[in-house]
Symmetry: C2
Subunit: 97 residues, 2 copies
């Protein structure tokens, strides 16, 4: 399943900047960064549950927000981009290995 | 149709910060801000085309990136959130007016 993860972490404090780094570093383990605070994560349901649990342990729920959009099948056909695009298709790249 | 708009605008320069403001102000006209750089836009196809055209005229395509995720029907069932949530459901709120 493809899950889009977007996050806002309040970085007004040193602790906030640390949380932001932790969130980003964790998301790197699960997917492809397509923008600064946006990851496309190709995960199985168990990994998705794990990711949510880990993120919930990192953030400050009163200050930070993480949203998950389950993109479903054929998600590639429902994504458009304008401007700079440094992302790649993780499923496609796996096939190329 | 519900379109998720996410953007990265390079704010290293004064021009970049101006572009960021323009992008955000434009998106406000089309949808609901759910995170700092993430909007959920409930639009008809013609409005989506219009939004893309306007955004393309604002950004620097070599430095900035805007992504559009067409969430399809029953998108509300495929969104999850942890942490702070100041967003609302634009379709639902219209019904309440």
């Amino acid at each position: 399943m493809m899950v889009l993860v977007t996050y806002d972490v309040n970085t007004e404090t040193k602790q906030g900047r640390k949380r932001l780094r932790h969130v980003a570093n964790l998301c790197v383990d699960y997917g492809q960064r397509v923008q600064n605070s946006v990851f496309e994560c190709s995960v199985v349901p168990a990994e998705f549950v794990e990711l949510k649990g880990k993120l919930a342990n990192i953030i400050n729920p009163e200050l930070d927000s993480i949203r998950f959009y389950l993109l479903g099948k054929n998600w590639q056909n429902r994504v458009e981009q304008i401007g700079n695009n440094d992302s790649y298709d993780p499923d496609k790249d796996v096939l190329l290995l």
